[in-house]
């Protein structure tokens, strides 16, 4: 489903990824671990189409990402993101934040999704009116709204307490149960409890 072939990346003259080969199957829950500076965030950025690697190829659903005509639309339709910080837009309500990410025909299911995640009562509130845990649940809802093929999560619980961390992983695991591939880059060892596969990175290489 996701294939990386000899992916390398440089930031200026500094190489951060070294010929990474990787294959992730549909429905996997991948725990991408590694120390700070190991290259896991850069790999996540490359796999999620946000960053074009300096060399090597990445395939999503058998399609080379450099050959995708409309990468923005592809990203909107097929990929969901959850970041360490919720990254909700403060002047938009919870409902509007999710609607911003929704493709045509998906807006109708926002309320149902919010209901499913237990945050329907927050729909009309603004990000600064809800707690950190609730914000991250909204961020998960935003990632799920288009029924993506894959969700990339970068330290999704980095700013949450253990209760809310558990809740976020449960939501991601639930998405995995419904057929969505989940890739989580994190330092949090609790991800192991939910992961079906572990990839450890060190010095820009997969160990």
């Amino acid at each position: 489903m996701i294939k990386a072939s000899k992916v390398s990346h440089f930031y200026g003259k500094e190489q951060v990824l070294f010929d990474v080969d990787l294959q992730i199957d549909r429905g996997d829950f991948v725990f991408l671990s590694g120390d700070s500076g190991s290259g896991k965030s850069t790999l996540l950025s490359c796999l999620s189409t946000l960053l074009r690697p300096s060399s090597g190829d990445i395939f999503l659903e058998e399609t080379k990402i450099t050959e995708i005509q409309n990468i923005d639309l592809f990203r909107q339709q097929k990929i969901g993101f959850v970041f360490q910080f919720h990254y909700l837009i403060n002047y938009l309500s919870v409902y509007e934040n999710i609607a911003l990410a929704a493709v045509k025909g998906k807006k109708e299911k926002i309320n149902a999704l919010l209901q499913e995640l237990g945050i329907l009562d927050l729909a009309s509130r603004y990000p600064n009116e809800i707690s950190g845990g609730q914000r991250q649940r909204v961020a998960v809802a935003r990632a799920l709204i288009n029924d993506p093929l894959v969700i990339f999560a970068d330290e999704p619980t980095g700013s949450l307490d253990s209760t809310n961390s558990k809740l976020v992983y449960t939501l991601l695991a639930k998405a995995k149960e419904q057929g969505t591939t989940v890739v989580v880059a994190s330092h949090d060892e609790h991800v192991k409890e939910y992961a079906t596969r572990m990839i450890k990175m060190s010095d820009g290489k997969i160990q």
Binding site: L44, L50, D72, F81, Y87, I89, A101, E155
Partner: protein
């Protein structure tokens, strides 16, 4: 707002002077080759010959000058032939004889006493008049013979009314043959070609252009600050798959709303300022202006253009925001 006021005031000045010339004449006779009526000197004796011409309804001569009046550093002086004095609507006193003057309503509020010193000579105040032309209300009217002595000329110009508009052009030709030193034009074409109006219009255009450039730089810098402070938001949009065009369109739309609000605010404020101008005595009614539909549309078009142009580069920078920054910010 600067464009509103500059355009309105310059149009107001041109409008006032045009109206003054066009109201009581179809044809204007000035000294040939003179750029400004202030420097024109026409032989008043031409009036007798013109009056005997067929299709001439009326004619009068006028001297236009400026001089210190009382404590005021400068005011318009209008020396008019006796047959034209009735043009000025008296609201106090009577029409002036030699050695006497009429004061415009605005200037009369600032002068006290029965006499007034104009230049080096003292005149008795015969009365006061009102007019819907600010230049006239802020000026002083006297007999043309007195004005002639003051400004050392016979007449600045002669205005002629024809009995029918269809006879105007033929009359222009006939009058032109009276004297080689005169320039004869219909008041319509005079107003269109008058150098002073062109200077005012060009100056207004230059100042408006500078105001436009300053507005443009203002919008560009405000938008740059906005874009910089919202970089994270644009990164989120890019990560969510929103296209660069979506971000550019959004920013254009926001700038348009902001600029249109500023336009409405400036419109109201300019309207208030322009309404106040005629009531400021120190301006003597010389500075006035009204918001014509043309000026409003011109400023609206400038505002829209300014908004689009000013937000172009900031919007482009916003659209190029790299969503990876969201991951890098969270990267530990």
């Amino acid at each position: 707002m600067a464009i509103f006021l500059i355009s309105s005031v310059s149009q107001g000045v041109i409008g006032m002077y045009s109206k003054m010339i066009k109201t009581d004449g179809d044809i204007i006779i000035t000294q040939k080759g003179i750029a400004d009526t202030f420097f024109s000197n026409v032989d008043i004796g031409l009036l007798e010959k013109i009056d005997t011409m067929p299709h001439v309804k009326s004619s009068y001569a006028m001297i236009v000058g400026a001089s210190p009046v009382g404590h005021l550093p400068i005011a318009g002086i209008y020396g008019v032939s006796e047959n034209h004095l009735s043009h000025y609507k008296l609201f106090e006193g009577k029409y002036p004889k030699k050695g006497q003057v009429l004061l415009g309503k605005t200037i009369s509020k600032q002068l006290r006493g029965r006499t007034v010193k104009i230049g080096n000579k003292r005149f008795r105040i015969a009365g006061a008049y009102e007019s819907d032309i600010g230049f006239e209300e802020g000026g002083v009217v006297m007999n043309i013979s007195d004005a002639g002595k003051m400004f050392s000329r016979s007449a600045s110009f002669i205005l002629v009314s024809s009995d029918s508009p269809s006879n105007t052009d033929a009359l222009v030709e006939k009058i032109m043959r009276l004297n080689d030193d005169i320039g004869v034009k219909t008041t319509q074409s005079f107003v269109q070609e008058y150098n002073q109006f062109k200077i005012i219009e060009n100056s207004s255009l230059v100042i408006s252009s500078l105001a436009f450039i300053m507005g443009l730089m203002g919008i560009a810098s405000v938008m740059s600050m906005i874009v910089n402070s919202r970089k994270e938001e644009f990164g989120i949009m890019r990560a969510l798959g929103k296209s660069r065009m979506f971000i550019i369109k959004n920013l254009f739309f926001e700038t348009l709303i902001m600029s249109f609000s500023a336009y409405l605010f400036a419109l109201v404020l300019s309207f208030l300022i322009l309404s106040l101008l005629p009531h400021i005595d120190t301006l003597q009614g010389y500075v006035s202006g009204s918001l014509s539909l043309n000026v409003c549309l011109y400023v609206l078009a400038s505002t829209v253009f300014m908004a689009l142009l000013g937000s172009l580069i900031p919007a482009w920078i916003a659209a190029k925001t790299d969503p990876v920054l969201l991951i890098n910010q969270g990267c530990s």
